[in-house]
């Protein structure tokens, strides 16, 4: 089991979700987040004074998949979320110890 964390541009969420659905991913958790990488922030003006906005809005997707699905999932996300411009985001893959489906108390791959 692996936890896949993807940080993407917010407007790409719909495409990524569809790409994941088409390869059989049945669930995901999505959060609105803010952050920056090499893209850095941008400046805004309010009432005549400039200020820097370092943290830009992004969407974080968390998905847990069985080991055999990992590379397929990552490929789907990268393909759907890519614009080629700076700020497209990142995908992280993390080893996962346990998963539990609360309703049935199933454990491990069965709970994913």
């Amino acid at each position: 089991m692996k936890l896949i964390i993807a940080i993407i541009k917010p407007f790409k969420l719909e495409e990524v979700k569809e790409a994941l659905s088409s390869i059989g991913i049945e669930g995901m958790t999505v959060t609105e987040v803010k952050g920056f990488g090499r893209q850095k922030g941008h400046t805004e003006i309010y009432r005549g004074s400039e200020y820097t906005v370092d943290f830009l809005p992004k969407v974080k997707i968390e998905i847990v998949v069985t080991d055999e699905l990992v590379s397929k999932t990552v490929d789907a996300i990268v393909k759907a979320a890519k614009t080629g411009k700076i700020g497209d985001g990142k995908v992280f893959v993390v080893a996962l110890e346990e998963a539990v489906r609360i309703r049935t108390d199933e454990r491990g791959d069965a709970a994913v």
Binding site: E44, I45, Y46, R47, G48, S49, E50, Y51
Partner: protein
């Protein structure tokens, strides 16, 4: 400051129309009900019987409805101020700002009812009305003052009472009182936005009470209550000075005594603190714009034949329109982008600036005044920030800077023909002379309101402080002052 004067020809015209109507009435009656023939026949071609008291009541009724509806529009400006101010501040202080805007009208009403009205409009000296309470003075309104009797050809009542400064309008006393009350409330609301996000709730309550009970009615008496300025050719149709610059001076004093919000100025640089809801701010300005159609046209305090209120309404609208345009262009050129908060301030600036001159200048002049006001608003926001006078909503740029400019503009663009036909208060002075009179009046009001406001703020500060603790300011005044949050998360409200 608004005289109910009707040129004689208009009166004659109206009498003629009414006479024609009276004559033609039997014709309609005949067509509708032939059985009335006998009655009609009994009314020969002699002069038609007009019951003057019935026409007088009708006319007073129409004037009163206009004054009350206009007053209700001005009352609704409280909603506009609440939305503008809360929108331009942070969400952690939203409840506090709304609470201040809500109670301020209750406080202003109380103060103006208890003592403010009598100080402002009671017969007294050139400097002070009468020290009396609860609007108890003798008054036989609806009636017209001796000098204005000819203006209502049907009126049978001549004014006698102690509020003779406002006997030029034919409406009942409580209509006069309500209309003036909502103006007093506006002056107090101006202060609320300027001192937002750091003032103690109790300090604001005390200041608002004192402002409306004493400070506002005294300078108001000088201008609208038969005092020193109004009787010396100073003109302010609907309150650029009486309401807006008075509120502005009081706000400036508050800002100086309070100091800026934490984190606004760091190492000599301005660190902007963006507002949390521009939707609310924009809606608030639209409500204020609508409210101003009561504020200025209502200041005729009579509907008359409709020409004066129509003129004033269009001039008011042009002030807002060109204030918006002026601020948009200025922000775009000077600050690179047409900042919405500046556009909103520019619209209000145009409205504030046209408030004094709307019945004294031509419509093109009104457009010019609005445009200049919009430019001034943007520049003033930047300048006040450079001076480290932290004004979260731009109240100084809008109400003080443009209250002053509007009062001055009345002189700079003065048109004696408009002053005669619309305001019915011509001074006959040249533009230069009128401008000088306006300047003197602005100076006198400033010399009264600004120092006395400083004294009151410092006194409140000495009696327990006017500023919340730093920890409370960081956490937000909503929880510290009120124990509420505007947008609670993870609570039962979301189950």
């Amino acid at each position: 400051m608004k005289l109910w004067i009707n040129p004689l020809p208009r009166v004659l015209k109206m009498t003629a129309i009414l006479a024609l109507l009276a004559i033609s009435l039997p014709v309609f009656a005949q067509e509708a009900a032939p059985v009335a023939d006998a009655v009609v026949a009994a009314a020969p071609a002699t002069a038609p019987a007009i019951d003057p008291s019935a026409f007088s009541a009708l006319r007073i009724g129409l004037d009163t409805v206009w004054v009350l509806v206009a007053g209700m529009l001005v009352f609704w400006m409280n909603a506009g101020f609440a939305l503008v101010e809360s929108g331009l501040c942070r969400s952690k202080n939203c409840v506090n700002i709304l609470a201040k805007n809500f109670v301020v009208f209750a406080l202003a009403s109380t103060a103006f009812y208890v003592v403010g009205w009598d100080i402002m409009f009671g017969d007294g000296s050139a400097w002070f009305g009468r020290l009396a309470f609860f609007v108890q003075g003798a008054d036989n309104s609806p009636a017209l003052g001796h000098d204005y009797m000819s203006m209502n050809p049907f009126s049978t009542t001549e004014y006698s009472g102690v509020y003779s400064a406002i006997n030029w309008t034919p409406v009942p006393l409580w209509a006069k009182f309500f209309f003036q009350l909502v103006f007093a409330g506006t002056a107090a609301t101006i202060v609320s936005g300027a001192v937002a996000e750091r003032i103690k709730f109790t300090s604001f309550i005390w200041f608002a009470l004192i402002l409306v009970a004493v400070i506002y009615p005294i300078s108001g008496h000088w201008i609208w209550g038969g005092g020193i300025l109004g009787s010396n050719n100073f003109r302010d149709f609907a309150g650029s000075t009486v309401v807006h610059s008075v509120g502005g001076w009081a706000a400036l004093a508050g800002i100086i005594v309070l100091g800026p919000r934490l984190g606004k100025y760091k190492d000599g640089k301005v660190c902007p603190i963006p507002g949390h809801n521009m939707t609310s701010a924009a809606l608030g300005v639209l409500i204020l714009w609508l409210g101003w159609f009561g504020f200025n046209p209502g200041s005729t305090m009579a509907a008359m034949d409709g020409s004066a209120i129509s003129y004033v309404l269009v001039n008011t609208n042009m002030g807002a329109v060109f204030g918006t345009i002026g601020a948009t262009i200025t922000a775009w050129v000077l600050l690179k982008k047409p900042d919405l908060s500046m556009i909103l301030n520019g619209c209000l600036a145009g409205l504030v600036a046209i408030t004094a001159p709307c019945a004294f200048v031509s419509i093109p002049s009104g457009c010019a005044i609005g445009f200049i006001a919009g430019v001034i608003a943007v520049l003033a926001v930047v300048v006040f920030d450079k001076l480290k006078l932290d004004d979260p909503v731009g109240a100084l740029a809008v109400h003080l800077a443009n209250g002053l400019f509007g009062t001055l503009a009345l002189g700079l663009f003065y048109d004696n023909d408009v002053a005669t036909s619309v305001a019915a208060l011509p001074t006959g002075l040249s533009r230069a002379a009128q401008t000088l009179v306006q300047l003197k009046g602005m100076g006198l009001v400033a010399l009264w309101v600004f120092p006395i406001s400083l004294v009151v703020w410092y006194a409140l500060k000495a009696m327990g402080g006017i500023r919340v603790k730093a920890e409370e300011e960081i956490e937000g005044l909503d929880i510290g002052e009120h124990g509420n949050e505007a947008y609670p998360d993870f609570t039962g409200a979301h189950k």
